[in-house]
């Protein structure tokens, strides 16, 4: 079969290109459901509904762990000393600079609510450990302070904050 010089565009050339283009678009469209099926399904998303936590039983200095969207959430009832330690930090020395005030709700400074997943590779850090007395991740040695900010180790960012609001002074709603 000879195609001759390509200087001349024929109807057949157009049909070849049009057919190929339809096949390519169709092939790409088929990928959408094939890829999408692996994302969280409806029941997983539904199970991520907001939860309410009663803070009254959490003693001064205690850290509890609750699960929301299969993620551990740390709720820390910080002592005066811990709040002081979190505030008296030179922000310029931080890897992910954030003042303590940006990590708690105004008027509720004693409550720190963070997602308890190390931002390095997803392990769960241990509470009240490490050289900054916040959290320490046993997997690769990241240490967080009492504000959940990364201080040393390979983790790139601070422990993230989940979306939450205070329903009353002793109740929060996560989600």
């Amino acid at each position: 079969m000879t195609t001759g010089s390509s200087a001349e565009h024929t109807r057949r050339d157009f049909l070849y290109i049009a057919t190929g283009a339809v096949a390519a678009v169709g092939g790409a469209a088929v990928m959408v459901p094939l890829i999408s099926q692996m994302n969280p399904d409806a029941s997983t998303i539904a199970a991520g509904a907001p939860i309410e936590i009663d803070l009254a039983p959490i003693a001064d200095g205690q850290i509890i762990k609750v699960f929301w969207r299969s993620m551990p959430i740390f709720i820390s009832h910080r002592t005066k000393a811990e709040i002081e330690a979190a505030r008296n930090v030179n922000l310029a020395t931080l890897k992910d600079p954030q003042p303590d005030s940006a990590r708690v709700k105004e008027g509720h400074e004693q409550w720190l609510v963070v997602i308890g997943i190390c931002t390095h590779l997803g392990c769960i850090p241990l509470a009240h450990q490490g050289e900054y007395n916040g959290w320490f991740c046993p997997c690769h040695g990241s240490a967080y302070d009492t504000s959940g900010r990364i201080r040393v180790g390979p983790a790139p960012t601070n422990l993230p904050l989940p979306p939450y609001t205070f329903v009353s002074d002793t109740r929060i709603r996560i989600g």
Binding site: P72, C123, C137, P138, H140
Partner: protein, 408 residues
């Protein structure tokens, strides 16, 4: 390459077949008359051993799937059921778990053999790259199989390894959620890992066929690193290579069975006999021994993204070795400097493996960093420069001459 004999179908049935599906002559030319260099040593038996291990893993794996349940509430229980209740279930599981370790042990010898004798050089570049692809598929398969047990180590290995993708800027988090099918490692993750762990060995088998095909086109390399020139340089695959491969397979099986029957949990971690608990990370998580060198490279770099990039690069760099090594001489036997750098490289890889099991602190981090630098320097600096500066020893004129000279 010239053969030693051509296939003549003997029976009436094989004559009938030959005109319809010439499988007899394909097997004969590939595994009977196929000319192999006469100077091959026992390091050349590992291709056969690896094929055997792939078959063992597929057979024991299919048996295990008949008794395993891929669900977060039942997976651990079903594995214990295999160990305690299923007839010979303990044997199948120990063969499969230790078989994975033996598979990696054999593949590392196979890779180092290729590096030492320059088996990746022209005309075997594609053969080598197919090998790197098989190695990557093996790593993915081994990792997902380990997760299926759904013990503490399984769960946290799944968490840490999938989180490697979160290092990708911008889309990292979305990719990890997509991999999990949820907001953490959970039932959807276990289900898809089970499906892929079943699929990938057959993908490996497919690439192995391409690997052997490429091998039979280019012909085997050999300890002298020179191509066969005449029939005097080669012997037929059967009986020479078949018997030699068979003998060393039996030796390898002895080592394998020693682990299976006398120390089946030696290479595992006690923590994996604790059911997966998403709320508690074990104090010391380490991967299986065959991933430790790469894990050490990941931890040597104090930056998340760069650590992940370095770990990926440590494997991908292998695919470029045919072009990084600029020396015309294949075998390290005739490369006095390369030989020294090579053995130092082997020591560094073993050292990285040792460091990968140590806590990531103090002197261990510094040593990991030094070893990581050498690991990459070996490929990216030493290999290209040696081809220019190294004074190699004279090559023998032919394989038969090299063999007969050694005898004299």
């Amino acid at each position: 390459m010239s053969g030693h004999a051509t296939y003549q179908p003997q029976s009436g049935f094989m004559k009938w077949m030959e005109r319809r599906l010439p499988i007899g002559s394909l097997i004969h030319s590939s595994f009977v008359a196929y000319p192999t260099p006469r100077n091959l040593n026992y390091l050349w038996t590992f291709g056969g051993i690896l094929s055997m291990m792939l078959a063992v893993q597929i057979i024991t794996g299919i048996v295990l799937t008949m008794h395993y349940t891929p669900h977060v509430d039942l997976a651990f229980k079903s594995v214990e059921g295999i160990m305690r209740d299923v007839n010979y279930g303990w044997l199948m599981r120990y063969l499969h778990a230790n078989g994975a370790a033996m598979f990696f042990f054999a593949v590392y010898i196979h890779i180092f053999r290729g590096l030492y004798y320059g088996s990746y050089k022209e005309p075997r570049e594609v053969l080598w790259i197919l090998g790197v692809i098989i190695f990557l598929l093996m790593m993915a398969t081994g990792f997902m199989g380990y997760v299926l047990v759904w013990g503490q180590m399984s769960f946290w290995a799944a968490t840490v390894i999938t989180n490697l993708f979160s290092a990708i800027p911008g889309v990292g988090e979305a990719i990890v959620t997509w991999l999990w099918g949820g907001y953490a490692v959970g039932n959807p993750t276990l289900n898809r890992f089970y499906s892929l762990h079943f699929l990938l060995p057959f993908a490996i088998a497919g690439v192995v066929i391409l690997h052997i095909w490429a091998l039979h086109v280019a012909g085997q390399n050999n300890p002298a690193g020179i191509e066969p020139k005449s029939d005097k340089d080669t012997v037929p695959f059967t009986p020479y290579a078949t018997v030699k491969d068979g003998f060393f397979m039996v030796c390898f099986l002895l080592l394998y069975c020693w682990f299976v029957f006398y120390m089946p949990n030696f290479l595992g971690h006690a923590d994996n006999y604790i059911p997966a608990n998403p709320a508690v990370t074990p104090a010391h998580i380490v991967p299986e021994w065959y991933y430790l060198p790469f894990y050490a490279i990941l931890r040597a770099i104090p930056d998340k993204l760069m650590g992940v990039v370095a770990m990926g690069a440590s494997i991908v760099v292998l695919a470029f070795v045919p072009w990084l090594d600029t020396s015309k001489v294949k075998s390290a036997r005739y490369r006095p400097l390369f030989k020294q750098f090579f053995w130092l490289f082997v020591a560094v890889c073993i050292g990285l493996g040792w460091l990968g099991a140590k806590p990531a602190e103090g002197i261990y981090v510094i040593l990991s960093q030094i070893f990581t630098v050498y690991y990459f320097a070996f490929f990216l600096v030493i290999m290209p420069l040696l081809g220019i500066f190294e004074k190699t020893k004279p090559l023998p004129n032919s394989i038969s001459e090299s063999v007969l000279d050694a005898k004299a």
